[in-house]
């Protein structure tokens, strides 16, 4: 039995050791800024930022660039509190946010209104889109289509895409509470691809053949019309910093704004901010 007690003691000591090690490892802080930087925020910007970070690091940068999601509001907050060296936003800043942050537009993105490919609707006006999303227009027959209820698909509150859509299309109208809410560009696309009577909105760069972007106010949603600002719903992708960027953060932002970085964004379907790239 004495032996049993001994084993027990070792067992408990081991348990305590494991717990302690966990605590110590868990509480150790991430390495100081300078060596590596973190980007956090908009899930619309995230995939592009990841590509840029990968390319930047492969170009022999010793520093590592981590990219995290979280959403535009979280990105703005992360930049304000310094939790991330660079915040990412896919909507314009509000005045109080503008006052405390440095912003660097890295590209522009159009928001496409998408329907199922089997839908023969050619185009909509901004007012019609507003009517559909606010629940005033509820049936495709009011738009010259079949007598079927419209399945309206929106994004969750706080999403940058939703924020830009609210600001540029809905204006003072509210998205109807009856609208379905999907929590990412991908789920919106999936839902519209699966439902012949659905309508949704997402980043132009993410439109693929399973869904169809309709004309808005008579303008086709393409990179060219987005660049010329003919297309009515174009939003900026922003990098945000709390102070004038230095070190790796500055180096990375410079790289993103260089023709090299801008070309990657163009290739991925965004409108570069550098007027010389892609013309």
């Amino acid at each position: 039995m004495g032996k049993g007690g001994l084993t027990w003691r070792w067992f408990c000591a081991g348990l305590a050791l494991v717990a302690l090690t966990g605590l110590v490892v868990g509480c150790r802080r991430a390495p100081a800024a300078g060596a590596s930087i973190t980007l956090a925020g908009s899930t619309s910007v995230q995939p592009f930022a990841e590509l840029l970070a990968e390319d930047y690091m492969s170009k022999g940068g010793k520093q590592s660039v981590n990219v995290q999601g979280g959403g535009s509001s979280a990105g703005i907050q992360a930049a304000e509190t310094g939790a991330a060296q660079i915040g990412m936003s896919s909507r314009e800043l509000k005045p109080d946010e503008k006052a405390v942050l440095y912003q660097f537009p890295i590209a522009h993105d159009a928001i496409a209104i998408i329907v199922n490919p089997t839908n023969h609707l050619d185009g909509l006006t901004s007012a019609q889109v507003r009517g559909i999303f606010s629940g005033v227009i509820r049936n495709w027959k009011d738009l010259g289509g079949p007598d079927k209820a419209i399945t309206v698909i929106s994004r969750e509150e706080g999403s940058g895409t939703r924020g830009s859509f609210d600001e540029m299309i809905m204006k003072d109208a509210e998205v109807s509470p009856a609208a379905l809410v999907q929590d990412s560009n991908g789920s919106v696309r999936e839902t519209v691809a699966g439902d012949p009577y659905a309508i949704g909105y997402l980043s132009l760069g993410l439109v693929d053949p399973r869904v169809r972007a309709v004309k808005l106010d008579g303008v086709e949603a393409t990179l060219a019309t987005a660049r010329s600002k003919e297309y009515p719903v174009v939003r900026p992708f922003l990098f945000l910093t709390k102070a004038e960027p230095t070190g790796t953060a500055k180096d990375f932002i410079d790289y993103v704004l260089s023709p090299e970085g801008q070309k990657i964004l163009l290739r991925e379907g965004l409108v570069p901010v550098d007027p010389n790239v892609g013309q």
């Binding site: 007690g5 979280a74 969750e156 009856a178 439902d195 659905a198």
Partner: protein
């Protein structure tokens, strides 16, 4: 039997008492600390949720927060009534689908199935509990939602889809607990009933089920807790519209989905309002647990002194 019982009640097995040394007390203390730390974590979570949520509830007013029909964080309007109703609808739906299936299955396993069959089926059902909820959600999204959309109408993302998915998800919980409750009914009850000339089915309905009532109730309440707390699978098939559903085919948003959908973005009062949603959910689940332990103890006592 009585010898064993006495030893356990005294709290120290004989061999331990003989050697009641430092190590014995040391182990007891370590175990106490570990056990208390679990409760400590629960306490911390409770405090944290309430600290996070109360400012929003105070700002909106408890009644307005709970009974408000409109959820528009962008405009500073926080009413979670549609989500409370959503959780309620979906949970009732899940119970309506899951409980009859579970009870039938538990009765079959406990009373009807030959032991060999039961030995295969029971582990298989317990395996259901190990499937991650996102898989249930994905199956619902890919199979159930289009099925409902094409055959019943509406967008497919609906109370019905969520109820079916949740109804399947609560099966293992409800089945295994009610199975255990039925197995715990003394053999003498069955023998007595059969000896009096009752058929097997009469025995099950009139003797077995009433005798196992407390356990079955506990099973249902635990299943309800699982249904109300499930998040991932529901987000994928519910449609998440912030509206009180008018029919089974309408989209719905539950309390848990509300938190999970928006937490990544929320800041300030919006964030606090999500914690507030958590507070309400917490209170609902606490009430359920209290109800569960109350029914089990109350019925349990009644069973000790059955009416003549």
């Amino acid at each position: 039997m009585s010898e064993e019982g006495r030893v356990t009640r005294e709290g120290h097995p004989k061999r331990g008492r003989r050697r009641a040394g430092l190590s014995e007390r040391g182990v007891e203390r370590v175990l106490t600390v570990v056990a208390l730390s679990a409760i400590g974590v629960l306490g911390l979570i409770t405090v944290f949720i309430f600290i996070g949520g109360l400012p929003a509830i105070a700002k909106t007013g408890l009644w307005a927060f709970v009974s408000g029909h409109k959820w528009a964080p962008g405009r500073g309007v926080f009413g979670i009534f549609p989500m409370i109703m959503g959780s309620l609808w979906v949970t009732i739906g899940a119970l309506a689908i899951g409980v009859p299936l579970s009870l039938a299955c538990a009765i079959f396993l406990a009373e009807v199935a030959p032991p060999k069959t039961a030995r295969v089926i029971k582990p298989a059902i317990e395996l259901l509990a190990g499937i991650p909820s996102v898989i249930y959600g994905f199956m619902g999204l890919v199979i159930l939602v289009p099925l409902i959309r094409t055959h019943l109408g509406g967008p497919g993302f609906s109370v019905l889809a969520s109820s079916v998915v949740l109804g399947i998800m609560i099966l293992p919980t409800v089945i295994s607990i009610s199975y255990d409750a039925m197995k715990a009914v003394p053999e003498a009850y069955r023998d007595g009933s059969l000896a009096l000339g009752a058929t097997k089915w009469q025995t099950i309905v009139m003797v077995l089920l009433p005798a196992a009532r407390s356990g079955i109730l506990a099973a249902i309440i635990l299943g309800m807790g699982r249904a109300i707390g499930e998040t991932m699978a529901v987000i994928m098939v519910a449609g998440n519209a912030t509206m009180v559903p008018g029919s089974l085919l309408d989209p719905v948003r539950t309390l848990t989905s509300n938190i999970a959908l928006e937490m990544g973005y929320a800041a300030g009062t919006h964030r606090a309002a999500l914690f507030g949603t958590g507070v309400i959910l917490f209170v609902i689940i606490m009430l359920l647990s209290i109800l569960a332990s109350f029914t089990t103890t109350a019925r349990g006592k009644a069973k000790v002194n059955p009416k003549p």
